[in-house]
């Protein structure tokens, strides 16, 4: 629609815009909380996750002379802004999931983010016991466990060769 991907064909529609796609899938598969208020909390949490995720996603595109500074910023934000916020949420209610005592997209997206941060620096999660526990718990859910295994459709981090290909295709 806006000359961009991702695009997902589902239920007779061609969906674009990452958030719109995620919102649709989460609603359809009951991973979006039980009411508008739970949804608002979930949205607030995942928007924060998206901000950090975007910084990590764009790291391969950073010019070499700016890369160290970018990595330092990612580490700082992770340690001082994002991980403390989610650890605090889990501590505040003591439940197994971020929202409504039930699995939601917030838990899935947080664990995805935890794996990505681990790829940047595995030591960053060291002082966040509840995040560590959530990561283990969610990773053991059968569907997630399967996705984390080799042979699934999960994609590896981008490498230099794939980045060059992408640059050619998308002309950037």
């Amino acid at each position: 629609m806006f000359q961009q991907v991702p695009m997902v064909e589902i239920d007779g529609m061609k969906l674009v815009q990452t958030r719109a796609i995620l919102n649709y899938i989460a609603s359809k598969y009951n991973l979006y909380g039980k009411d508008v208020k739970e949804r608002a909390l979930i949205d607030m949490y995942i928007e924060g996750m998206t901000d950090l995720n975007e910084m990590i996603l764009l790291l391969p595109l950073t010019p070499p002379d700016q890369k160290d500074a970018k990595v330092a910023l990612i580490k700082e934000r992770t340690t001082n802004r994002y991980f403390p916020a989610f650890e605090k949420v889990l501590k505040s209610h003591g439940q197994d999931y971020l929202v409504g005592n039930r699995l939601s997209r917030a838990d899935i997206q947080l664990v995805e983010l935890l794996y990505e941060v681990e790829e940047v620096d595995p030591s960053l999660i060291a002082n966040f016991p509840l995040l560590k526990a959530l990561k283990t718990r969610i990773s053991n859910l059968p569907a997630v466990k399967k996705f984390l295994q080799p042979g699934s459709q999960r994609k590896p981090p981008i490498d230099a060769k794939k980045l060059e290909e992408a640059k050619k295709i998308f002309k950037f």
Binding site: R19, K37, A40, L41, M44
Partner: protein
């Protein structure tokens, strides 16, 4: 009686403006705390109401909501601007994500060095003309209805109007090739709650000037 929603932000548009538009369109009165000093801002930060230490913050229905899109989605659902079912909602999500993608770089540009600012604004106008406005023109053409989704006034319409006005402030003739968008603009602008918001004296904020940019930079220490 429920308390009015309360908005916490700087005295300008930024990321709070889309929220103001939505509340105004719903005819909902709201209060604002506008940060003029770093002390005011730090007080809100220290209160622990800012989940990620950032504004916008909206206090509504007993919640301290941050993250622009989370707030907008909540308000859209609350005031029945989010379509009648999941399929209409996903279309509204796609369209509003598009307009936010168009508007955010424009909002960010005053805070950039002069050269990047010029380039950013020029790029935004170009994207409006070649990527975004053609899409919305086509949507209106395809169904021939007055509103973008479901033949009913929604968040998508409110935000498209906001985006059109924002781009027009940089390039007054940007709608010259889009007759349906021109008609759309006139139509939505004359909805009573929107008309009221567009008049002087409303809580609509001005485009950022150098004073605003300095204020924000001081408060955020950037």
């Amino acid at each position: 009686m429920a308390a009015k929603p309360k908005l916490y932000y700087f005295p300008g548009r930024g990321r709070m403006e889309s929220i103001r538009w939505l509340l105004a369109a719903a005819g909902v009165e709201f209060e604002e705390e506008l940060f003029e000093t770093r002390e005011q801002y730090e007080k809100v930060q220290k209160d622990g109401r800012l989940l990620f230490g950032q504004v916008p913050l909206v206090e509504i229905d007993g919640m301290a909501l941050t993250q622009t899109r989370a707030i907008l989605s909540y308000l859209a659902a609350k005031y029945d601007f989010y379509g009648k079912d999941l399929k209409e909602r996903v279309r509204i999500d796609m369209y509003t994500d598009g307009t936010l993608d168009l508007m955010f770089p424009i909002m960010a540009s005053p805070f950039q060095p002069p050269k990047e600012k010029e380039e950013g604004l020029a790029s935004a106008v170009k994207k409006a003309k070649t990527r975004y406005f053609p899409v919305y023109e086509k949507i209106l053409k395809n169904h021939g209805e007055d509103f973008l989704v479901g033949n009913k006034f929604s968040w998508a319409d409110i935000q498209l109007l906001e985006a059109i006005l924002m781009v027009e402030e940089m390039n007054a003739s940007v709608l010259s090739d889009f007759p349906l968008l021109k008609a759309f603009k006139a139509r939505i602008s004359s909805i009573p709650t929107i008309k009221k918001f567009l008049q002087p004296g409303s809580q609509r904020k001005q485009p950022p000037d150098s004073h605003y940019v300095e204020l924000v930079k001081n408060i955020l220490q950037i």
